[in-house]
């Protein structure tokens, strides 16, 4: 699924990584627990999370995750956007809940990791 399709399905805002909007993700993982995120295979993975702080971006950096979707209307800070930009990430924000977001993207064809 293209990142542009995620934007549409989840009524999301693109806050970082405009030039990478046509990149693809194939699977997604929803979690607010970063140690669980660090255990995943990261190939073309979307991280869906309500945990919105600098450690979310750091975790994505270490795990080589390139796209993060923040749910529940959480807003990335300037510090987070700057770190995400530095590492070539895309950041999206949706007003929807974690459950609704996950459901929409699952129905739209994104695969679960397990």
């Amino acid at each position: 699924m293209k990142i542009s399709e995620i934007l549409e399905l989840c009524d999301a805002r693109l806050v970082c990584g405009n030039e990478r909007i046509s990149n693809e993700v194939t699977s997604a993982f929803s979690s607010d627990l970063m140690s669980d995120v660090l255990m995943l295979p990261a190939e073309k993975l979307l991280l869906i999370t309500g945990l919105c702080n600098i450690q979310t971006i750091r975790t994505a950096e270490m795990a080589e995750i390139r796209c993060i979707l923040f749910v529940r209307n959480k807003r990335a800070t300037e510090e987070m956007k700057s770190l995400a930009n530095e590492h070539g990430m895309v950041i999206l924000e949706t007003p929807f809940s974690l459950f609704r977001t996950s459901g929409l993207l699952f129905a739209g064809g994104l695969k679960p990791v397990y």
Partner: protein, 138 residues
């Protein structure tokens, strides 16, 4: 190669937590180490660095890059671990609310370090500190 690096980690400094791991990641990329090897190394190191931030008052991270391996030694001044075997169990945690708010502290850190490090050795003295030594081969 014989490269050595040293970083200071401050306990409780969540905004800079991970900066040592980030620097090591950049260094390994420059050295063109295989991406999957880099990923395992930095995940193990990041969890260990987070543990210093989460539990200790301060710590030193020393990185030794050899021709065929990276050795990571993290030495902290902190509460120590009374029972290392218990601490290694997934789900066991003594983390504060602040650590949990950062998305950590669920008792997965040491298990994740063990999973990603080729060799892991932990020594600890209660009320003095903990030393973690990890080795990964290229």
């Amino acid at each position: 190669m014989g490269i050595e690096q040293q970083y200071t980690v401050k306990g409780g400094d969540f905004s800079h937590a991970g900066s040592a791991s980030s620097h090591v990641r950049k260094l390994l990329k420059q050295l063109e180490i295989a991406p999957e090897k880099i990923r395992r190394i930095v995940i193990a190191l990041y969890e260990a660095e987070m543990n210093i931030v989460a539990h200790a008052s301060s710590g030193i991270v020393r990185i030794f890059l050899e021709k065929d391996a990276i050795i990571m030694v993290l030495e902290d001044q902190g509460p120590g671990i009374p029972d290392i075997e218990q601490a290694m169990k997934e789900g066991f945690s003594t983390a504060s609310r602040k650590v949990r708010e950062m998305g950590f502290g669920a008792g997965m850190g040491l298990a994740n370090m063990k999973r990603n490090a080729d060799l892991l050795e932990i020594t600890s003295t209660v009320r003095v500190g903990t030393t973690v030594r990890m080795t990964n081969y290229f």
